[in-house]
Amino acid sequence: MSLLFVLAVIAAIGAVAFIIARQRGGALDRGATRPHSRAHYHGWWAFLLATLPATFIFLAWLLASSIYLERHIVAQLPEQTAEGPIASQSLAVGMVKGLANGLRRLDANELASLPSTFAQVQPMLAAKRVALATDTQDYMIPIAVDANRLQDRLGTVGAIVAFILAAVGGIYGIRRVAERARARNNVERLMLWGLMAASMIAIVTTIGIVLSMLFQTISFFERVPLTDFFFGVVWDPRFAAAGAADSAGQFGLIPLLAGTLYIALVAMLVAVPIGLMSAVYMSEYAHPRVRAVVKPALELLAGIPTIVYGIFALVTLGPFLRDLSAALAGGSPFIQAQSILTAGLVMGVMLIPVVSSLSDDIITAVPRAMRDGSLGLGATRSETIKRVVLPAALPGIVGAILLTASRAIGETMIVVLAAGVAANLTLNPFEAMTTITVKIVNQLTGDLEFNSPQTLVAFALGITLFFVTLIMNIVALYIVRKYREQYE
C-alpha cells in the first residue's frame, strides 16, 4: 500500500469523524443552556484525534521498518561482503535496493517466472526503463525479492495499525462530544503548538546551515591543514585523477578573499556615493510627483535578478570596456573583458537601489524639528543636510553601508559571469580576479564526490563566507536598531 493511499484513508476516517462529531455537537445546541464549544470545534477535535496520532505512528513505523529492512538485507549478504569495509557493504545494499525497486515494476506473472541470473533480469527491467548498476550480482536477486516481500508485509501491518488507531481516535473524539466538553480550547492549543513549531523553522534553518557545512568542513580540514587554507596564497585545487600520488592540490584562501574584497570595494565606491546622493535628493528635494515616478523605477532596478546584471557585464559592458581601452591605447587592450573593474562597476549599480532605499528610510527618520531648527537659523538646505541631517543619520547610514557590503561579498552571479576564474593576486583593477562565491560554484558544478577535498573545500569556503557576512549583518542590524530607538 502506498504512502499516499494510507494517508488518504486516514484523512477519510478523520473526515467521517468530523462530520459525525459536528452533527452531534449541533444537536447539543437545542436545550436551555448553551454548550461550551460550537459544533465545528467538536468536529475539528474529533478530526485531529483521528488523524494526528495515526499519521505520526505510521510515519514512525515507516522509518523504523526501513532501518529494519536495511539490517535484514545486510544480514543476508554473503560473509565476505558483510565483513568487508563499510563502503563496499553500503554499495551492495544500495545495489539490492535498486534491484528491489526495479522489480516493483514487474507484474505478478513476470515475478513468478523471474530468471535467476542478473544477465537475464537486466533486459527485462531495461524494457521498463529501469537502469541498474552493471555489477549487480546474481545472489542479490533472491535477497531483493525477499526484501520486497518483507517490505510489503511491514507496510501492511503498519497501515492496519494506523487505520485502527485512526478509527479508535475518531470514535473517542465522537464520544467526547458533550455540553461541557472544552473542544475549542483543545483545538486552539494544538493550533498554538503548530504556530510555535512554524516559528522554530527559522532557528532550524540556521542550525541546518551551520551543521551541514560544519561536518563537511571538518572532514575537509582532516585532509588539508587549517593554516594552509587560511594563510595559503596559492589556489590550485587540481582536479587530478583520483588516487594519483600528488592529487592534494593547494587550497589557499588569500587570493579568493582578496578578490572578493577588492571587487566589493570597487562596487561600494560606485554604490555608496550615488545611492546616498539619490536618497538625499529623493527625501529632501524631489517634488512628490517626481518621487512617485523615480522611486518605483529605482525599486525596479533592485528587482532585476542578479543574473541579468551578470549577463549585461559579460555580453555588453566587458567587451565595450575592452574595445574602449584598445582604442585608447591604440592596439592592445589594457582592460580585460572579465576584470575587477567590470564586475565591480556592475555590482555597484546593482547595489545603488539597496543603499538608496536603506538610507532613504534612515534620512526620513531624522526628526523634522532638527531640520526646521537649522533652516530657521538661516542655513541653506544643503547646509542643513550636510551639517545636521547626515551627521544625525550617520550611525544608521554606517549600518546600511555594512549591510550593503555584506550583500556585495555574498553576491554570486555577477562575479561568476564577469570576474573570471583565475585566482590571481593583483592590485591592477583591469585584470581578472576571482572570488569565494565563484569558487564555490566552480567546485560544486559537475560530478561530485563527497569525500574529495576538491568538493569539500567549497563547504569550508561557504562557512567562511557565512560567518563573515553573519558578523557584518549582526553589527549592522544592531547599529540600525540602536539608531531607530534613538529617535523613536
Binding site: A202, L301, R381, G410, I440, T445, L477
Partner: protein, 439 residues
C-alpha cells in the same frame, strides 16, 4: 545705522552697504549639491535604460524564427527501401529523413540532383531538427508514406541569422558561416515567399538542445512553475504561522529574541549558502534526487521564508489595537480574534510581501547551480521529482554557449523572465494600492 551715524556727512540717498556673508557662494554650493543629487539619480536610471535597451535589442529577434515551407514527398524508397516497416518498427525510427527535406529543397531550388558539388553546398541550410520533426509525423501517421505534404521546416541557426540580417555579408565568405550560394538561394526563396519568419513558438516549448534553433525554455518554464508552486505552498502557510506566533502570541523572552535576530540574519545570508545547505541536507543527507525541482523549491522556500515573515509581521502590526480589543471584548478567544479579524485585515499586506518574495525566488540562480539544476534536460518533467532546470539557470547555461544564436535566445529568455517579474511586481503594487487601508 552705525555706519551712517559715524559718517555724518554721508548723503542720505546712498544705499546701505550689506555685509558680505558669502550668500552667493552658499547659494552656488546649494545649486551644486542639488545637481549632484540629480546626477546620481540620472546615473541610476540611465543604467537601467541602457541595460534594458541592450537586452531587448539583442533579444527581440528571437521571437521570430525563420522557416522554409517545403512540399515534402514522403518517398517510400528513402524511408523504407526494403519494405520491412510492418514487421520492424525501428525502420520508421531510423529512416533517413533529412534526405527527404533535402530532396524537396533541391526540387524547389531547381538544382540538378546529379550535381554533387551544388548539393553539398546545401549542407547547413536546414536545421538538423528536421529529422525529429518528420520522424514524428511519420510515426504518428504511417499512412502518409508515399504522399506529399507541405511542411514548415526550420532553417538552420546560421541561415536564420542571415535572414534576420545579423550577419555582415560584406565579410569575406570564408570567414562567415553562410556561403554566398546559400545567401543567393535564400534571397530567391524569399522572393518566392517560401522562406519567411514565423512566431517562434518553439522558444517556449522546446527543451534543451545543442542546436540553437531547436532549443527552447519549455523545460525551464515548467521547472520554474513547479518551484514557485512549492514555494507558495510551503513558505506562505509556514511564514504566516510563524509571524502570527511571533507577533500575537509570543511573550518577550530570550527565545523569541533569538528567533527574531535569526530571521533578520537569514534574510541577509548570501543566497549561495542556501544552495550549500540544500546540497548537504536535501541531496546528500536525505537522498532526494539531484536536479529535481522539488529540491530547488525547498531551497527557495527556506530563502523566501524570512522575506515573507518580515512582511507579514509588518502587516499584522499595522492592524490597530482597537480591532483586537473589540474582538476580545465581544468574547472571541485570542485564536478567533487572530483568524477571524486580524488575518483578513492584514491579508493584502501579506499577499504583497509574498508576491515580492516569490519574484525574488523566481530570479534566484546561485543556489540552484549547486543543487545540480545546471543540467541538459530535453524532456518535460512530469513530476517535481524529475530533473528540470529553471528560467534563470537556462539563461546562465545559454550564456556559456559560444554561438551567437544562443545569445539571441538568452536575451529573449531574459525578456521573458523580466516580463514575469514585472507582472508580479505590478500585481503587488496594484494590490497594495487597492486594498491598503490607512487606519
Amino acid at each position: 545705522m552705525t555706519d551712517i551715524s559715524i559718517g555724518n556727512v554721508m548723503v542720505a540717498s546712498a544705499p546701505p552697504r550689506r555685509r558680505d556673508i558669502g550668500l552667493g557662494r552658499r547659494y552656488r554650493a546649494e545649486r551644486r549639491f542639488r545637481i549632484y543629487g540629480l546626477l546620481a539619480i540620472s546615473v541610476g536610471l540611465m543604467f537601467l535604460a541602457v541595460m534594458l535597451v541592450s537586452i531587448v535589442s539583442k533579444g527581440y529577434t528571437a521571437f521570430w524564427q525563420t522557416a522554409v515551407t517545403l512540399p515534402i514527398t514522403f518517398d517510400e524508397k528513402i524511408i523504407d527501401p526494403n519494405g520491412k516497416r510492418d514487421g520492424d518498427p525501428n525502420v520508421l525510427i531510423a529512416a533517413n529523413y533529412p534526405k527527404l527535406a533535402e530532396n524537396a529543397l533541391i526540387a524547389k531550388l531547381g538544382i540538378d540532383p546529379s550535381d554533387k558539388a551544388m548539393v553539398r553546398k546545401l549542407k547547413g541550410f536546414l536545421s538538423d531538427g528536421v529529422r525529429a520533426q518528420l520522424r514524428e509525423m511519420v510515426v504518428r501517421d504511417p499512412s502518409i508514406v508515399g504522399m506529399t505534404r507541405d511542411v514548415d521546416v526550420l532553417a538552420s541557426a546560421n541561415l536564420d541569422s542571415a535572414f534576420k540580417g545579423q550577419i555582415d555579408l560584406g565579410v569575406d565568405e570564408a570567414r562567415r558561416k553562410v556561403s554566398d550560394q546559400q545567401v543567393e538561394w535564400m534571397n530567391k526563396l524569399r522572393d518566392e515567399g517560401v522562406i519567411s519568419g514565423h512566431f517562434n513558438a518553439g522558444l517556449f516549448t522546446y527543451g534543451a538542445s545543442s542546436r540553437p534553433e531547436t532549443s527552447g525554455m519549455g523545460v525551464a518554464i515548467i521547472g520554474s512553475l513547479y518551484m514557485m508552486a512549492i514555494v507558495l505552498l510551503l513558505a506562505l502557510p509556514i511564514g504566516v504561522a510563524a509571524s502570527i506566533y511571533l507577533e500575537e502570541f509570543a511573550k518577550k523572552s530570550r527565545l523569541t529574541d533569538i528567533i527574531e535576530v535569526n530571521i533578520n540574519n537569514l534574510a541577509a545570508v548570501p543566497s549561495i549558502v542556501f544552495g550549500l545547505l540544500g546540497l548537504a541536507v536535501f541531496i546528500n543527507f536525505l537522498g532526494l534526487p539531484r536536479s529535481a525541482s522539488l529540491v530547488g523549491g525547498l531551497v527557495l522556500t527556506l530563502m523566501t521564508l524570512p522575506t515573507i515573515i518580515i512582511a507579514t509581521r509588518a502587516a499584522l502590526a499595522a492592524v490597530p489595537p482597537s480591532i483586537r480589543s473589540a474582538a476580545l471584548g465581544l468574547g472571541a478567544s485570542k485564536m478567533q480574534m487572530v483568524f477571524h479579524h486580524i488575518l483578513p485585515l492584514a491579508a493584502p499586506g501579506i499577499l504583497t510581501g509574498t508576491i515580492i518574495g516569490l519574484a525574488r525566488a523566481l530570479g534566484e540562480t546561485a543556489p540552484l547551480l549547486l543543487i545540480g539544476m545546471v543540467a541538459f534536460v530535453a524532456d518535460y518533467p512530469t513530476t517535481p521529482f524529475d530533473p528540470a532546470t529553471a528560467l534563470p539557470v537556462q539563461i546562465y547555461m545559454w550564456a556559456n554557449e559560444a554561438e551567437r544564436a544562443f545569445v539571441e535566445r538568452m536575451s529573449a529568455a531574459i525578456i521573458v523572465l523580466l516580463i514575469f517579474l514585472m507582472a508580479m511586481n505590478i500585481t503587488a503594487i496594484v494590490l497594495r494600492r487597492r486594498f491598503e487601508r490607512r487606519w
